[in-house]
């Protein structure tokens, strides 16, 4: 299993744990602070982007047919860039969204725009990386 896949899958497991813990907190029958209550969309995205999509990315990078023996999984740097952008973007969202909702006067809306751009770039880079590997099994040059 390549190092990038290990990072993807271990991060995915951390996000799954975090998402489910957040779900527990959101279900508590107490008066939660506003910041926490506004984390409902973050819960969905920690689950679906942090866990599901990141797990898929890790497995695709590992198991899809290789391109060549020399560079089996394409440009690895692209994969690391996608990993970093996805995770920074997602964490920025998890913090930025409740911040913007609870303090709309603080002018922090740009945090969400940056988060959106980072996650979008992560998806684009991953598709660029994985697209050439959607093919027949490699049978040598």
């Amino acid at each position: 299993m390549p190092p990038l896949t290990r990072w993807y899958i271990k991060s995915a497991l951390v996000y799954l744990t975090a998402a489910l813990l957040l779900a527990v907190i959101l279900a508590l029958p107490i008066n939660l602070p506003l910041f926490i209550r506004y984390m409902n969309p973050a819960y969905f995205h920690l689950f679906l982007v942090g866990w599901v999509t990141q797990m898929i990315f890790g497995v695709i990078y590992w198991m899809f047919p290789i391109i060549t023996r020399a560079q089996p999984r394409g440009n690895e740097q692209l994969g690391w860039a996608s990993y970093a952008l996805l995770n920074v973007g997602l964490l920025l969202r998890a913090i930025g969204e409740p911040l913007v909702s609870t303090r709309p006067e603080a002018g922090l809306g740009w945090l969400l725009a940056v988060s959106a751009l980072l996650q979008w770039l992560a998806a684009v880079l991953f598709v660029v990386l994985a697209w050439p590997r959607v093919k027949e099994k490699y049978r040598g040059e």
Partner: protein, 136 residues
């Protein structure tokens, strides 16, 4: 990877990009308002990512890796998987038409029914390929 899997997985990648693009616009709009009509794209964002990306990718990978031969040929009935691919994508766009484009409740309902059909056809295809080591 068989040709049909390639089609299904490439389609899933396209939906990933569409879903993330709408998601990015919606998230940006939350922080820095762009246009109020953007919220109408929320159902498309959800549909593209749940059905177009996650469900479709799962089907594409399943079609690729489930055993085609174990002890004896598993009668793969590829036509069922092809129908599932067409139905799933038709269903996605009908649902998007029925929600985001406000084409009406019947279009939305038709989309959901076609999506169920896609899953049934895929299950019909995959059933015989789900086998134990003993071939049961």
């Amino acid at each position: 990877m068989p040709r049909l899997s390639q089609w299904i997985i490439r389609a899933a990648f396209i939906y990933l990009l569409l879903g993330f693009t709408f998601g990015a616009l919606l998230l940006t709009h939350k922080g820095m308002p762009l246009h109020p009509a953007l919220w109408g794209w929320l159902p498309a964002h959800i549909e593209f990512l749940l059905m177009g990306w996650i469900v479709q990718l799962t089907m594409g990978v399943a079609f690729w890796i489930l055993p085609r031969y174990w002890k004896h040929p598993r009668g793969t009935d590829e036509i069922y998987a092809q129908i599932a691919f067409v139905f799933l994508n038709l269903g996605i766009w009908l649902v998007v038409a029925g929600t985001t484009f406000r084409a009406g409740i019947w279009v939305l309902l038709a989309g959901r029914v076609v999506e169920v059909g896609a899953v049934v056809f895929f299950a019909l295809h995959a059933w015989k390929r789900i086998v134990s080591r003993e071939g049961a």
